[in-house]
Point group: C2
Chain length 214, copies 2
């Protein structure tokens, strides 16, 4: 059976998004800097239909992650673009555009039942029964590949607390955001025992990979 | 001239000490786990008069750091053992015992003027004129070697904000503390531009080294 993997970029001070998130600004002030390293890679550029890009050990890891992931679970805010009044609009359409980069089934945690939405090669299915149900459906859809818990911080914290994550991959970017959404907020020593498995770095990012001990 | 170096251990959630610090418990709940990796090394054991210990790339870095450091600056709390009522006792003697591990001049930031204290091969000098004065005196005492900014988080934040640090070495330990003193609290994107220089890891710790851009 596939693994359940959190693979997320944080600032050196531990934020996955900066302050002042909005629909036009879903990563908050400075949050875009957390993903520059990924957009520069050959693997990401290919996924977005562009040529060129950086190769090397970090790119190899991302290629492998893209290849081995069969489904993604994400929180409502990651689907619809940060915090804000549109969150309460059950039909808000999100910020992923006409060809979202997933190209596999995505399950969105929400309190609002709604019909699945297909865009490009990605289908978004809305799950109102909580994280375990979302994970079960994602596992089925992944057909033996891994399930990625995409974010945001809230969703990741719920999955970590429930002991449902096998691998935690934190991509530390050497910038400070100072405020925003912290990846590991609300978790403490009793919630998680980690074992460092691999560390892979480039000047732009250090990828720390941990196995979660069960 | 020597470099000004911050070399500090943090939990994966960014704390340098856990909650509930006290004089008998200066690193707070769980904070001792941040330093287990160091105590296991040959370099640290030698410095404390013990034989044996782990060797390898992380040990080599610590040996080099010990060899190249000529003076340390620390905050009053790091000298006297965490937060608490004893902080206001100008003669509180600290928790470093009869043979503190520094074996070079240490400058303690404080608001209480007091005579220097010599213990084993270490002299503690108390500086009431602020961080720039402490650094100037430490540079002189270091005789061309590096000056370490030892901690705690408050002192490190002051030095980082003032642009006085050349290298930031964060030793990330794969544990969560959940609460306590955060290394990078109160700092934001305008305070620090970092360039990753080296990453060195063992199962117990990942050492991320950054050059601070001026």
């Amino acid at each position: 059976m596939g693994q359940v993997i959190v693979d997320i970029s944080t600032s050196l001070d531990g934020f996955v998004a900066g302050p002042n998130q909005s629909l036009d600004h879903p990563l908050g002030d400075g949050g875009g800097r957390l993903h520059d390293w990924a957009f520069a890679l050959k693997a990401f550029r290919e996924r977005h239909g562009m040529s060129g890009g950086e190769t090397g050990p970090v790119n190899d890891l991302v290629e492998e992650a893209l290849r081995s992931t069969g489904a993604t679970v994400m929180g409502r805010r990651m689907y619809s673009g940060g915090e804000g009044p549109w969150e309460d609009d059950p039909n808000a359409d999100g910020w992923w555009g006409e060809d979202p980069p997933f190209h596999h089934p995505v399950f969105v945690l929400t309190h609002h039942p709604r019909e699945p939405a297909a865009k490009g090669g990605t289908t978004f299915t809305f799950v109102t029964e909580g994280i375990e149900s979302a994970l079960e459906r994602a596992r089925e859809a992944a057909g033996g590949k891994n399930v990625a818990i995409g974010g945001g911080a809230d969703a990741i914290q719920q999955f970590l607390k429930a002991g449902l994550v096998d691998e935690l991959q934190i991509n530390v970017v050497p910038v400070l955001l100072g405020d925003g959404a912290r990846l590991l907020d609300g978790l403490g020593p009793g919630d998680l025992e980690l074992e460092t498995t691999t560390v892979t770095e480039s000047p732009a990012v250090t990828r720390l990979r941990f196995r979660v001990r069960t």
